[in-house]
Structures are given as C-alpha cells and as structure tokens.
Symmetry: C2
C-alpha cells in the first residue's frame, strides 16, 4: 500500500540485487525507517527482534533470508546452517517453518551454483503468492461491504471496526482484515475505520492507525473499551478482524479482546467478519476454547508502554504501581457462533465445519 503517496510492500529486493529491504516496524508509528538486510544473520535478527512481524511477512523474510545465505555460501552445509539459524528466530511461527521447508525443498536438489538464483526466484514467488491471497480476500470482503453499504442506502459513512493489526504491515501487502477496507476506499465507498488501540501491545494505535493514515484511509483510534458503546448506538456497520488460528469448525483465535467485540457485535446485530488466508486454518481442531493453548507473554508489556515524549524521544513509561503484578494473555478464542462469516482467498463462508468444507472440500476427511 502507499506511504504518503508512494507504493510500498513490507519487504522487497534491493535495487542492487545484493540485499533485501524492510520497514523496521519496532520504530513505528513515530519513526519510518527502511532497513537493508545484507546477510542471513541480519534477516534472522529482523525476525527475532520483530523488525518484521505477522505470519506471512515472517515467512517471506525467512525465504529471502535463505536467498541471502545462498549468495554467501550455497553449499549443503551453508543451506543447513541458514535454515537452522532462521528457524530458531520464532520457533512457534507456523509460516516461518513452512516457508523455510518450501525454499529448502526447491534448493536441495539443485547444484550449488544454481541455488542463489533459484532462492531469489522462490522467495519472490512466496511474496507474490501472499499478495495475491490477500488481494483475493480483499475482493471477497469488498463484496460484503458493498452489500452493507447498499442495504444502508449508500450512507455518507461506512463504519468498520477492527482490532489489532491485520493490515499490510503484517503481510507482504494488502493485509487480511484491512484488504477489504483498502479496496473499499479505492472503490470510493465512504469507509471510516474505528481502530481499537489493542492493549497491551497497542498494535492498533501504533500500526493500524499508522498504515491507514499514511495510505489516506479515514480512521479514528479508540480505547478497546469503546466498541460496545459504538455498536449500541449504530456507529459500527461491520467488524472485520484477522485470526492467528482458526479451527475446522470456525472458532477463531485472535488477539486478546477479539471475543469481547464479537459478543458486542452479536448483541447488537452488527456483522462480525474474520478475514483469513487458508493456511491459518487448523483442520485438526474442533473446539477452539478447549483446544488452543493461549500464550502468556511478559508482564512488562502490560506494566510498561512506549510512546513519544514531548521532546521527541521514544521512551517506555511504567503505568502500574510498583509491586502490582500484571498478567498478559496474548490471544482469546471467539466461538464460531459469534462469527457472521469467514472471508478467505477462495470466498466467503459460514464459520462452521460445513461452511469451510464448501470452500475447501479437499481438506475434509472422508
């Protein structure tokens, strides 16, 4: 998407062909900084230290990391070392594992002399495939937004609420939950986005607000507490969120607090959509609340918060009293009964086993 009028992806090969460039997302929203990754070690640092984040972007970065590795040492030992180094960066990231295995599978049968070129091609294919998937999600979601707009008699403002960041910054381009929003904006629908702050890591206030603002999409940042009130008063026409993991029955594991917004949407008859690329579906799971373990992250993410000081420094401040313990649950599970529809790259379906089976018949166990 665009940053102040200039089109960007979140990762791209440098013009000289000797490096990959990324946006350092740890410095957003206060500093926009492009970083040049010249070696596999730098790519590993970029993933481990969360300069890049979001499953699809992590996968693409890992793929380009292997390409950088092949430029330096395309031997079997070089490939194995690079694979191991990258895999260790975020051990639980499914996309990381998948992208590394994919590229290694392409490179292993090749002679060492051909691996570098093949790795750059394959990494680009992985990045392009993510863009195409998200663009397709966007088109399907746009149809839903057009329908809502038409039902409302083409209102002056179409209000969509989102939680966390499932935008282009989490992918290579377009995003998942935000893809329909970008397309709606480009199609001329009068879209306005309520951006949940998304405590404790503030991905909404820092990343979603930043990318919408830079692309020119009207939006307003609100406390996570505010969505229910807005829905009670007709100020939300639809919710669209992403998901980290979706069960075969349509339960949605996403950023903590998603469940509360889904409850409010259900209570007020507001459509609640979840946008997802199909690899986030875990076909082995049937009950998200019982079966999906919820990561607890560092208490410091709740007790401290980073922001811009009056004199322009980015500084962390402590927001709880000394001695008060904090807990930091990273995700929650929204039961399928609260989800109006799933938006996938293959189309829109009910959040149910039958709904998913209709789009992905090859995944249904006979």
């Amino acid at each position: 998407m665009k940053i102040d009028g200039i089109a960007y992806r979140t990762i791209w090969p440098a013009a000289d062909g000797k490096a990959v460039e990324i946006i350092d997302q740890t410095r957003l929203p206060h500093v926009f900084s492009v970083v040049r990754l010249k070696t596999v070690a730098e790519a590993a640092t970029a993933i481990a230290d969360m300069w890049v984040r979001g499953a699809p972007l992590i996968g693409a970065t890992a793929a380009y990391g292997l390409a950088l590795a092949m430029d330096a040492d395309s031997s079997d030992a070089g490939l194995a070392a690079a694979y191991d180094m990258l895999l260790k960066t975020r051990p639980t990231a499914v996309n990381l594992h998948w992208a590394l295995a994919d590229v290694r599978g392409v490179l292993t049968p090749l002679p060492a002399s051909e691996r570098s070129a093949a790795a750059w091609v394959r990494a680009a294919e992985i990045a392009d495939a993510d863009v195409a998937t998200n663009r397709a999600i966007g088109e399907h979601g746009l149809s839903l937004l057009r329908d809502i707009s038409a039902t409302k008699g083409h209102p002056d403002r179409l209000n969509v609420l989102t939680h966390c960041n499932a935008g282009w910054l989490a992918t290579v381009d377009w995003g998942t939950a935000l893809a329909p929003i970008y397309l709606a904006h480009e199609a001329g629908l009068p879209i306005h986005v309520w951006v949940d702050e998304t405590r404790p890591r503030n991905q909404g206030a820092s990343l979603t607000a930043w990318e919408l603002g830079r692309h020119g999409v009207p939006h307003t940042v609100i406390a996570d507490n505010a969505g229910g009130h807005l829905m009670q008063h007709g100020l939300v026409d639809a919710c669209i969120v992403g998901t980290d993991r979706t069960t075969a029955t349509g339960d949605v594991c996403n950023k903590i607090g998603t469940y509360l917004k889904a409850l409010a949407a259900f209570d007020n008859g507001v459509p609640f959509f979840v946008a997802l690329p199909s690899p986030t579906i875990d076909w082995a799971l049937a009950d998200g609340v019982r079966e999906i373990p919820i990561e607890q992250r560092a208490a410091a993410e709740q007790s401290h918060l980073s922001g811009l000081t009056a004199d322009g420094r980015v500084e962390a401040v402590q927001v709880v009293p000394e001695g008060s313990p904090c807990a930091n649950y990273a995700f929650d599970v929204t039961p399928a009964r609260l989800v109006t529809a799933l938006i996938t790259e293959r189309g829109v379906c009910a959040a149910s086993r039958d709904g998913l089976a209709s789009l992905f018949p090859e995944r249904v166990i006979q």
Copy 2:
C-alpha cells in the same frame, strides 16, 4: 482503608482544626502525597483539578470547603461566595450540588457566629454517612461472595474482576465495588482481584491496583481486553463494578467498557454485580441506552498516557501516530438484562423496576 498498615480516609480534618487534609490523587500511583487545604479556594482547586475525584469524595470535599470558608468569613455574603466558588468546580457533579445545598441549608438559619462550628459538624456527618453507606454495601456484597465461595466448595482463590476505580479513593472510605472485596479480605476469604487497566484514563491500573496493593489485597492488573478470556476459562468467579448513574429499571451507566465485561459474564454464566449507593439511582430514567447522554472527553486522554520513566519522572507520552484522530467516550450503558444483581446500602436486589422498588418503596411513583 490502610496504606501500608496505617488507616486512612480520603479526607479528614487536620489535627490542628485549621485545615482539611486529602490525598493528591493526580500523583497516584507513583507518588503518595497528602495535601493540606487551608482555604475554600484551595478546596475548590482540589475539586476542579481532580486532586480528589469520585462523586462521594467530591461531595465531602465541598462540605469541608464550606467549613473552611466559614472560618474565614461566616457572613451571608461569605457563605454565598463560597457556595458559588465550589459549585463552579465540577458543574455536572450531582453529589457536589447536593452536599453544598445540604450544608448551606444547615448554615443559613444560624447566626454567623455559630456557622463555622456547625459547618465542621455537618461536613463530618456527610463524610461519616458516606462511610456508613459504603460499609453497608460491603456487608451485603460480602454475603454474595460468601455464597459463591461456599458454592465452589471454599476454593483456594476467589477471583473477582473489577473495572475502573470504585474503591475507597472514590469515596471517603471503603468504596462501593471494592467494599465487599475489602470485607471479604478481612473476613479471610481467599480473595484475588483481576484489575482491568481501564483505558483511556487507566483508573484501574493506577488507582484500584494502588489501593488494593497498599491495603494488602492480592490482585493482578490485566488489559481491558483480557476479561472475556479469563471468564471462558473459569478464572473469574464474579464481577463487581460501580456505577455513575442507574436507571429506575436497573440499566447501569458506568465507565466505558463495563458493557463488554457484562456481555462476557452473561455468556459464561459469571455473576455480574453492580454496587451503588442509592443516590446514584435516577428514578426518572427507564432506558439507559437511549436516555443517558454519554460524555465525550478530550482526545488527548486517548492519544497520550502518563507513566513513570526509568529515571523516576512522571511523564506523558504520545501513543498514536501524528495525525491520527482519537475519540474518547467516557461511559457506556449496561442493560439491566446483563446485571445479576444490584448491591445497595439497603440490600441486594434484581436489576429491575420491581427489584429496586422492593428496596426503595418510597421512591416508587404510585
């Protein structure tokens, strides 16, 4: 309640009888500072600048402010000037208006020479009445918590979730929502409190966590997003919140985000209690969502946040990108259908017109 073992109220006459002392709540939780108010002008500043906050405490401070005024000038003109000065501090605060009218009503018929002594007596009565009201709410709430504990077979931990600050800092002592919690703690129930951070003003993380911690009540600060997940997993035995305004039908207007927690409690069969002194009931209202206007406060409360820097300064930092608008709705309304019971100074009742009428028959229009 206690601060590190020493009993405090939030307001008290100074030992020398020439001033009133308060806790400067704007400096909590990072600095505990007692301020001496020597004149009515200082009392007015304490209210206007929110050194004291919470309806009951504002009322008590205004009453003591009139006493300070009578020490300086007990003429009719002095009384009128002090009344006007104090009333202007927080024009929409119902308790402020009520306390000022009450004390003025006591003083007006008296000769000027008797007004000072009478004002100090009346201010103390108002403060004591608030303490008695909250203590009664606490006793009634304690019965509910004992029942829940017994039903659970006297567990190792009784988890209560609260939102915002309806603790002793918002009253003269005990608090409303926290009164049952303090009494349960003193009665030896194994109480543990999930403290919602309560964005955007963070009254939970800063005030509730501070007062629970200083009194020695086990607690954990969580993001406002976390409560639904905790309830899904059986980690909340009851919710208790306060209210700013309650309709005659039991709808509850409280800090923004309360409605989302009530939805989650209802969805998971967790009791959701609202603690209130009866003056917060607005007997003229029947539909809270439609009839109660919701204040929108300054966007800067959402875009900026104060905390303690690593080198011990309290500093505000900006947490949204430059140019992203923010909205700041202060309250929301929880429909009575989601409220398990109201806890008043007269006892516990259903959140309904009949429930309230059973406790307050004199208020029912025949």
